[in-house]
């Protein structure tokens, strides 16, 4: 313990890891015959260089915050929820059903209603795997994987056969009523008198996501329930000794997790597409795993990791849009970032620790 100052561990280690990941990415870019410098500037410009880029970066980050928090909460109960993908998809269905069936006159009413729908559907999709884990011991990793496939099938059926307006080629629901459209951050900026992020999808859900980070932090690190979740996650026998009910905690943690994953739908389905399309989740559920793990299962970490992935997504998208570099390069860069900051962090930390220890010895 205390081998190096905390600030070094929290800031220096990930930073150096990130630099390493970028260096290797540069080599890959060179190897496919493109210019790393140009690629990097395109990415940074495209994602962070303008309010426009930020608008997209934050939009993607919002998705990842929700799915990252979802994975994180379950992880604290030592449940590995791989089902974010399916839960978020079902959350989308919840949003669509609420917005298409209830006559909601204003977004301020529609948002909470949609949030309830999204969370309920997401949580419901996590409920069966949770119950099976708690009561029958069926491994949650398998069941949540299976439920991703089942969600895809169910949504496919519902969109094609039930919710698709007749004659439409597109397997998607009808558009949500105009009154329910969420205010975009660009609109909010305009009403404050300046122009920011025009035509970007980032919307008020971003603030909901930030709020969710804070609430999850309170829940896990300050709440009695979070205390129980963490204790159960660390040791089931100890939890029993302390009177913590394993079934209750497993189910509660998964419901919260599924609900959070489902909430992602207010961003992509309600905020961006304004209708439910097939495959609206686009892998954000899986990115959530990386985000949670990289964020060290802490809401602040999740927030930062989500921003990083938002940046990579948007920057990478720009790269693929405006240069001849294939879009798969971004996946490689993402992989390297995950690898170096998430799995190879000790490669950086160990020499750093030695350095700090030596420095302290010399100092003492």
């Amino acid at each position: 313990m205390n081998k190096m100052p905390k600030w070094a561990d929290v800031i220096l280690t990930p930073l150096i890891s990130l630099v390493l990941a970028m260096a290797i990415s540069a080599l890959v870019i060179l190897a496919i015959g493109e210019s790393p410098v140009e690629a990097l500037t395109t990415m940074i410009d495209g994602a962070l260089g303008s309010s426009y880029g930020w608008g997209f970066t934050l939009y993607y980050a919002t998705n990842f915050i929700f799915t990252g928090l979802a994975v994180m909460v379950a992880y604290h109960a030592s449940l590995f929820n791989i089902g974010g993908e399916g839960q978020a998809a079902m959350g989308g269905l919840g949003v669509a059903l609420v917005l298409l069936s209830l006559p909601l006159p204003h977004w301020a009413l529609a948002l909470p209603a949609a949030m309830i729908g999204a969370a309920l559907f997401g949580a419901a999709w996590a409920l069966i795997p949770a119950l099976l884990q708690a009561k029958r011991g069926s491994h949650i990793v398998i069941t949540t994987i299976m439920f991703n496939f089942i969600a895809a099938a169910a949504l496919n059926y519902i969109l094609v056969n039930l919710m698709r307006p007749v004659g439409s080629m597109d397997p998607a629901s009808a558009r949500f009523p105009n009154e329910t459209h969420l205010p975009k951050l660009s609109d909010m900026a305009l009403s404050l008198g300046f122009e920011w992020g025009k035509n970007t999808p980032v919307n008020i859900s971003f603030f909901v996501a930030v709020l969710a980070c804070a609430l999850v932090w309170l829940l896990i690190w300050r709440g009695r329930l979070g205390f129980e979740i963490r204790a159960f996650g660390k040791s089931e026998p100890a939890a029993l000794y302390a009177g913590i009910n394993p079934v209750r905690i497993t189910v509660t943690a998964m419901l919260i997790s599924g609900g959070l994953a489902g909430l992602m739908a207010i961003n992509n389905v309600m905020g961006e597409a304004e209708r439910l399309v097939l495959n609206a989740v686009e892998g954000a559920g899986f990115i959530g795993i990386a985000v949670a793990l990289m964020g060290r299962n802490h809401p602040l970490g999740v927030f930062l990791a989500a921003l990083l992935f938002g940046f990579l997504y948007q920057g990478g998208g720009e790269l693929a849009l405006w240069t001849s570099i294939p879009r798969e390069l971004i996946i490689v860069i993402q992989a390297l970032v995950i690898l170096f900051t998430g799995a190879l962090d000790n490669m950086v930390r160990m020499p750093l620790e030695r350095m700090f220890l030596a420095m302290r010895k010399r100092g003492a």
Binding site: N156, V160, M169, N199, N268, E272, A280
Partner: protein
């Protein structure tokens, strides 16, 4: 400078995005011009891409895929001076050309050929994801097949329910084998990259297959009965050369929008009778004597 936007499948999807790309390439070769091209990475980028292209002054902007419909409907009014063309979807805006294909007609012809090539009387259809567009192919194929062989059997499979359904040649091959074992001796694949596996398994299994979208006859010469080509390339090429004319443009059989490909690779498979039957059907469809039902109009197919 014109622009072309590919849908999520990417420009090398072995399917209609690739066909669009070929059309653009042809335009480049013939005119020496340049164009902008974009591949979508995510749903949220559709609007971004459209707006950015419009703002950079690209004109016309051609996009492939029904998924752009909704976004284009929102974006087009903001850029009245830009001309848009969308393939596979109708968008009613004054500056948008909607290019739709009568896949059912091309598939109808493929169905006739399948019926005539089949010894067993059983043929198969393998679709990618179970979405309305693919049902359009399926239904046209079924009508042609039943017209030529009223008591024949048609086997139908869809690959899956996730985007992986378009990129799973292993599953495609396995579905083909399952259909072969049920007696199918001609299989029509409308499944993107998955179709490669279908054509392969058919060739391995000694039966015939039918390709889709672009001409795939060359993949297994002598083993692909034909390909139902959808001339997305022509649509793109036209838009690039002649510009965009707002309104709905129906690329039907008559207009050469869809057809069955016959070339050196499949010549030996096409008997004179088959050729005659196809020509006859073409004429009748053109004259309206045969009306091939479009699945999209009522989400139903008159034959199964």
């Amino acid at each position: 400078e014109p622009a072309l936007i590919f849908d999520l499948g990417g420009k090398f999807d072995k399917s209609f995005n690739e066909a669009a790309f070929m059309g653009a390439q042809r335009w480049v070769e013939e005119t020496g011009g340049t164009y902008k091209e974009l591949e979508m990475q995510s749903e949220a980028q559709r609007e971004q891409a459209l707006r950015r292209l419009a703002e950079t002054g690209a004109n016309p902007i051609v996009m492939t895929g029904f998924a752009f419909g909704d976004v284009l409907n929102q974006v087009a009014p903001d850029y009245p001076d830009t001309q848009f063309a969308i393939i596979d979807m109708v968008v009613e805006q004054p500056n948008v050309q909607s290019v739709v294909f009568t896949e059912e007609q091309g598939s109808y012809l493929a169905g006739i050929m399948a019926a005539m090539a089949s010894q067993s009387g059983t043929v198969g259809f393998i679709g990618g994801m179970d979405i309305p567009l693919i049902h359009k192919f399926e239904c046209g194929f079924a009508q042609g097949f039943k017209a030529a062989k009223p008591d024949g059997t048609l086997l139908i499979n869809y690959t899956g329910t996730t985007p992986a359904a378009w990129n799973d040649p292993v599953k495609g091959g396995e579905l083909a084998k399952a259909q072969i074992s049920q007696g199918a001796d001609v299989i029509y694949a409308a499944a993107g990259g998955t179709g490669i596996g279908v054509l392969q398994a058919a060739a391995d299994g000694g039966i015939l297959s039918i390709g889709v979208d672009s001409n795939q006859n060359h993949l297994h010469p002598g083993k692909v009965l034909t390909s139902m080509v959808k001339r997305v390339d022509n649509a793109v090429y036209d838009a690039f050369t002649n510009g965009v004319e707002p309104g709905v443009k129906v690329m039907d059989l008559k207009a050469g929008g869809v057809d069955v490909a016959i070339d050196d690779n499949n010549k030996p498979l096409v008997t004179p009778e088959m050729q005659a039957a196809v020509d006859d059907a073409k004429a009748k469809i053109a004259s309206g004597e045969i009306a091939v039902h479009d699945y999209m109009t009522d989400n139903a197919c008159p034959v199964r």
